[in-house]
Symmetry: C2
Subunit: 365 residues, 2 copies
């Protein structure tokens, strides 16, 4: 396999430590082998720690991040249900699409791309749509780099008898994220962002309240592959396992190793590292006259305006060719107007920050 070594500073995947690549290359076991079951159980236990939750139903969906969104949306919602979905970038918009495909009537709440939702605005939407079953919101909007505060939101959502659904694809393992303390009912993430594991799995977690809603469904979940009512019999912590699908065994090895690394560093230390390196990068970029797109920026993804006169594609190509650094292009209305510089997991190092600043300075000359 002839593959160049990249420094992955785009919107994901981030650079994967060789320790994880080695773990992934361990011999494939059968998906019902006792040793594999141990590894899978331990993976789910570590996932609970990283999500900061006691939720029994916490496991990695056997597909990439967007499958997690679909798993959460299609298990919680039924055809004919109503939902409130907050849209301020690609991924909020995608949640609308995923829900509408499942026959849900979606009430969109919108602010311009790059902005975030003030709590009052969400309170208003909840008041306006009291029959909604759930409110969906993106914690870390990968398309704009905006960090959404979830402070106080669960109380409002729960007081109206709704469930809180959260997209944490770009925050899990990089930003503070407290599933239980924040009252989140269903959450999904990806492995290839701040966990620095290869893409291929989507960690999800469902609260007991969400599980009750799922158990009270009148209809089968439209997707067999993502049906939590069957998956929970495979991922449950004990007793007889019901075979569902053939788990992606080696990807689970990789996630197991990635979570070990996260817990060895410690969640708080990891969040602090991402914050510190974001500040260093931000100071460097701003000293070059480069402005950030969002007011409330993620530490893990830095979305910046492309400086006047710079050639978007040419600069990114030069970064890749001369430095082997990947940064991300803009999406949607930001195409050709913004770059996205990831500082996620193993990619978030002082050396990488200083290198990308030097490389950008060179490429923008």
């Amino acid at each position: 396999m002839n593959v160049p070594e990249r420094i992955l500073m785009g919107p994901g995947p981030s650079t994967v430590p060789s320790r994880i690549l080695r773990a992934m290359a361990s011999p494939t076991l059968g998906h019902l082998d006792p040793r594999y079951i141990e590894i899978m159980d331990h993976t789910c236990t570590m996932l609970r720690k990283v999500f900061q939750t006691e939720n029994a139903l916490t496991f990695p969906v056997s597909a990439t991040g967007m499958a997690g969104m679909e798993c959460v949306a299609t298990n919680i919602m039924e055809r004919g249900d109503e939902a409130i979905v907050c849209v301020n970038g690609v991924f909020g918009g995608r949640m609308v699409d995923v829900m509408e495909r499942a026959g849900v009537t979606v009430h969109r709440v919108e602010v311009p791309w790059g902005e975030t939702f003030p709590l009052e605005m969400l309170a208003e939407a909840i008041d306006k749509h009291p029959d909604a079953k759930a409110l969906g919101i993106v914690h870390a909007e990968t398309s704009t780099g905006a960090l959404q505060s979830l402070d106080g939101l669960a109380e409002l959502v729960h007081d109206s008898g709704m469930l809180l659904l959260v997209d944490a694809v770009t925050s899990l393992g990089g930003h503070t994220l407290k599933v239980d303390e924040w009252g989140i009912d269903a959450i999904y993430s990806g492995t290839q962002k701040c966990l620095s594991c290869p893409p291929g799995l989507s960690p999800v977690s469902f609260s007991p309240r969400a599980l009750e809603v799922i158990e009270a469904r009148k209809t089968k979940v439209q997707s067999w592959y993502f049906d939590v009512s069957m998956l929970k019999d495979y991922y449950k912590g004990s007793g007889k396992r019901a075979y569902h699908h053939t788990a992606p065994v080696n990807m689970i090895y990789a996630l197991h190793e990635a979570l070990l690394i996260v817990l060895e560093e410690g969640l708080e230390a990891r969040v602090t590292r991402h914050q510190r390196l974001h500040r260093r990068l931000r100071a460097g970029l701003e000293s070059m006259g480069i402005r950030y797109v969002p007011q409330y920026s993620l530490h893990t993804l830095n979305c910046i305006h492309i400086p006047d006169g710079a050639d978007d594609a040419a600069v990114r190509a030069k970064l890749l060719d001369d430095y082997s650094i990947e940064i991300g292009a803009g999406l949607g209305p930001f195409a050709g107007k913004a770059w996205r510089i990831g500082l996620m997991g193993h990619s978030a190092t002082q050396a990488n920050v200083d290198l990308v600043l030097a490389a950008l300075m060179d490429c923008l000359e």
Copy 2:
């Protein structure tokens, strides 16, 4: 990672060659990196060769085998459509479930588990349900070890204006399978069977006729993750790639290497090897007085009656503990009554055949 080395002779995964494990552990690239796109394109090109098809729309779904079934079923069928599905084991039954969840009216054609469908019976079903949009059938039924002949079926199906959908999870790369010559319109498989790649991907292929049906849909595909109308813009052979989801990059490396190995051996030689070793195993088992379940047995999966007096779980545990050999338990009505011995891909060697015979003889003493 502390993982025992197993000889995987169950219903999958099969033993993964170290060459594939090493390829999989190559550095993770971004999913839009030019070098990754080359690897992905080459993977799709090789998949076409292994499926023996010219179908442009041939790619690996980013999830395990059952996702391929869901991808095929939900893209071809729309809510309110009718389908004929042939059920003679777990996987035909699952196809019914997947379709019904998509709002399809399913006409089941059934024979007892372990048996296969004579062409006349399928002709009758087609006559009886002329409004069906498709006929779904399992080529290699992993739950019973039965090999279904597809000879002459496509003509009947096409003459009635239907599409032919085929489950080839346990045959691709081990049995003769000629997608174009046999007139198959949509097919799915898994990587962890006769390709000896870790589980995590599901190769699919759609004929131009199937693509026309998909393009004429009145409604969106219910699954965003499996929507071929968007996926085709990512997997197309040339031009600008539309970002859909983050591809499981390292799993694609693994599949790339697995397909290289298949093509180095040659499809015909590979099929012959599986046939030869099946015969050797069969002769050995029958000389021990052990009988096969199906009349038409797969070469890749040998489903046998558990001999009278043998303790199902104890024998399998002894095989695992004393020989590190995994064989499969029976499913559904065969639970406790049958074993499934896989001879797939890298696991299909003369040494493994002779070893498993010797080990069984020891365990059955």
